[in-house]
Symmetry: C2
Subunit: 502 residues, 2 copies
């Protein structure tokens, strides 16, 4: 029986080819068409790799033949199928993304495949595969323990080691535990090349982590943004620099070279740990603000006037996405397992531990307020506005709304959701309406703002609905409503605002 | 016998007058000279009050008669004596400070006194007295427990309540536990005024915390900087706003009014807790960087290219000064004692706990490196460059250099110190040389950079000394030396750099 892979974006089904069939003819035809162009293979077609492949195909000062590679699996093949049909495997509000895709299609210098044959013709391989942390958490979201499984990542590197030709430059963009290039990738490459009779000087390895932000500046977060890079040796660093200059506006966003790959690997997990910790820091304060009847949004905005305090975070429902929820753990794991320290990065781990529980705190807050109104969760109809982990993005990976939603369901409330960008919420069984009017026309007792999509801001239909209905519980977990809006509706509804003293 | 108060800046002795003598004649003569001018009393002539009194005497859009008040005690009277002799009781590299003082002296609208009589003529009282946290710490600096003693602060407020005339506006600048204006100051004022037959509407209370930075921008940190303010009622907030507009460039630095005094009180301790926590966060990472042989300064500077990460801190010897070392504790105390929460602000407390131990970590680092060189601390001569808690400032309050120095002494090394601004290091018995050449000409085995005074940066005599001598241990705890400088001297000395992998 033929296996299929289903796109969560469109619902389209794609038949997964068997490896035996291969894709060599397609690749060779593509190469003939793109004769003489250096070949860039992007390994992994997720949120980073998909768009990275478009940026390479639209390089600023080079003309590359770009091939995106992913696995012929149920989870991944739909991305290849989509690309080939002319459908992007990511949803984006950034018009540059589709413009770049259209341009690559008309130039004919972009291909998606599953066939490892392509590595043998690659001049550059950009590693954008995932490296996951598996967490074991309580149903309130509390992290009990975690582990880093390098297996899939090592396998991806081994493919490169087994297929690539001498002279290849591998640029690792994946967020890895510090020490990975030197201690994991280099040995695999050396062994693979040696087994094929090549010397260990026959490849170069650079590390330059991405700072991709899916959303309205998706392309610019690669093409027009600062980059840090390094190499396992001088030659690798130099070659990485040359490649980065060909795809990034380095005149406006100068590159920073660090001394070794440990340093750039550490930079990435440090910058995300910094952010995670700064979010976690506000959790206690938002509870203190509740107790002191202080509007923490107002306070934080006042403090942010200071340049030195601009990065202070606001209270919210939680932290999601692929990076902040795991990168501090990658770092702590590395310290202990790669650098054999007796110590973890306990504060950074604690940041993740606190952030993971934020949706539970928001749920508890709602529960307490309901109880004080003499009501119970059971049987109430709840409309969630937004399921993405971040505003104006269609990305539910590790969305804090997920735990919040599951807690509501286990309290036997009935949950509906709206999101502008998410059609199928894979992580839950909740159906997601993409039409805000129809969502608001439904019957609900509690309205919860869960994602900061700009469509919700000053939304006329939303305000009209709130002015028409009465007796709702309106729970703003993300500081979306303005003071004026709150003023307008506060006599008709019971307003709850996280970190606001209400 | 007459008691005296000694200036730590000049060594001058001032006879402390008895309260019976009073100062009324001087005050009345001052008022006659400044007829019709509204009277501003600044309570407390420390690092904030002294300079605040000068800013008020040089108000942008008002003409005030300004009286600074402090206690006729051994610890404080020298400030009054100094002011009267024409000597500022603070050392500053900011030329505006002495210009403002000269101007006030020539205008004759600035006076310092100890006589509470002055409160009875005050239109405005600015509260700049200290509110201290007493810490009980181990000799390694680890915080065991702490307490907030409101006693002295309450006494200062009681003086206002007992002497001030109806109509007075009290503006609290002191950093207080959130809730203090409403729960501590207001009751004292109400009681004091009631006992004298005045109503509780006869006074106004505003809260507007200072963001004073002793150093090269001392005056501007008051006159040209953002302010947050509030009042115990609308009238108080309005009056506070009017006063602040008269002394601050609010066109360039707009004021922010918050809803109540709890909010502004929380804003102050939150902004300092944020900073303390961000410093503490880097401690673990700098140890991780050591283990991974990564230069954390280089990494942090690379990350700081991002606007969202500009506030990331660098590793260092520790945190000092009057604010960051206690404000998170004030907040945590308030949560529990004023707002009766079962919870502390554990993360913020943890920030202080970690920061307090940073000098011990730096000392341990030095010790370990010495041991690995086969040497012991005992008998070695150590020169510390800088004893202030902050660069270009003559302020040793809670300087991290203090614990570092004490640990060196208890290991029986011989410690000398240089500082450009500190003459007497009250907290230790160490003599401080103010002349960098003579300090460098002395005999030492270990040179430690402990304060980031700009005089040490690219100091030619310092570099020449290091190029001339050999076999020193040079320990940079604050990232002062440039890569080029390190290159130049590394063959002659053993270099240690905190958070650098060396």
């Amino acid at each position: 029986m033929t296996e299929t892979s289903k796109s969560p974006l469109t619902g389209n089904l794609y038949e997964i080819p068997t490896l035996r069939e291969g894709d060599r003819d397609v690749i060779e035809e593509f190469l003939t068409r793109n004769d003489e162009k250096p070949v860039v293979v992007v390994q992994g077609l997720g949120f980073v790799g998909s768009v990275m492949s478009l940026v390479c195909a639209n390089a600023i000062s080079a003309d590359y033949a770009v091939v995106g590679v992913d696995l012929p699996s149920r989870e991944s093949f739909w991305k290849i199928g989509s690309f080939r049909e002319g459908i992007l495997p990511v949803i984006s509000t950034d018009p540059k993304v589709s413009a770049f895709f259209e341009n690559a299609r008309s130039q004919g210098n972009h291909l998606a495949t599953f066939d490892n044959f392509v590595y043998s013709v690659a001049d550059f391989v950009i590693v954008d595969v995932n490296l996951d942390v598996s967490k074991n958490s309580s149903k309130e979201g509390e992290l009990i323990n975690f582990d880093v499984d390098l297996g899939a990542f090592e396998k991806a590197i081994k493919t490169i080691a087994d297929f690539c030709k001498p002279g290849v430059l591998i640029i690792v963009e994946t967020t890895v535990p510090p020490g990975t290039c030197e201690n994991v990738i280099l040995p695999i490459m050396t062994k693979g090349f040696a087994s094929r009779g090549f010397s260990k000087d026959a490849f170069k390895i650079g590390h330059s982590y991405e700072r991709v932000m899916p959303g309205p500046n998706y392309i610019d977060s690669i093409q027009n943004f600062y980059r840090v890079y390094s190499g396992i040796n001088q030659e690798s660093a130099d070659a990485t620099e040359v490649f980065l200059r060909s795809i990034i506006s380095t005149d406006n966003y100068p590159l920073t070279r660090l001394k070794n790959t440990n340093s750039t690997e550490m930079a990435k997990v440090l910058e995300n740990s910094y952010r995670a910790m700064n979010i976690a820091f506000m959790v206690e304060w938002s509870r203190f603000a509740e107790e002191a009847k202080v509007d923490l949004y107002e306070v934080v905005n006042a403090i942010r006037m200071r340049d030195t305090h601009k990065n202070m975070m606001l209270p919210g429902i939680g932290v999601g996405g692929y990076c902040l929820t795991k990168d501090p753990l990658l770092a702590s794991w590395s310290r202990q397992k790669i650098f054999n320290s007796k110590h973890s990065l306990s504060q950074s781990e604690q940041g993740v531990r606190i952030n993971d529980q934020m949706p539970f705190f928001a749920y508890e807050f709602l529960l307490q307020k309901l109880n004080s109104l003499g009501r119970v969760m059971k049987g109430l109809k709840v409309l969630l506005l937004g399921v993405s982990y971040r505003g104006d993005v269609g990305d539910t990976r590790y969305s804090p709304v997920e735990l919040f939603c599951k807690l509501l369901i286990s309290a036997e409330s009935k949950v509906y959701a709206h999101d502008y960008f998410v059609k199928y919420w894979e992580e839950t069984s909740i159906s997601v309406d993409n039409d805000i009017q129809s969502a608001l026309d439904s019957d609900f007792d509690i309205l919860v703002f869960t994602t900061l999509h700009s469509g919700y801001r000053s939304n006329r239909y939303l305000m009209e609905t709130l002015e028409r209905k009465s007796g709702l519980v309106v729970f703003d977990t993300i500081g979306l409503m303005t003071g004026d809006e709150l003023e307008k509706i506060k006599c008709k509804h019971h307003l709850l605002i996280l970190g606001n003293g209400d």
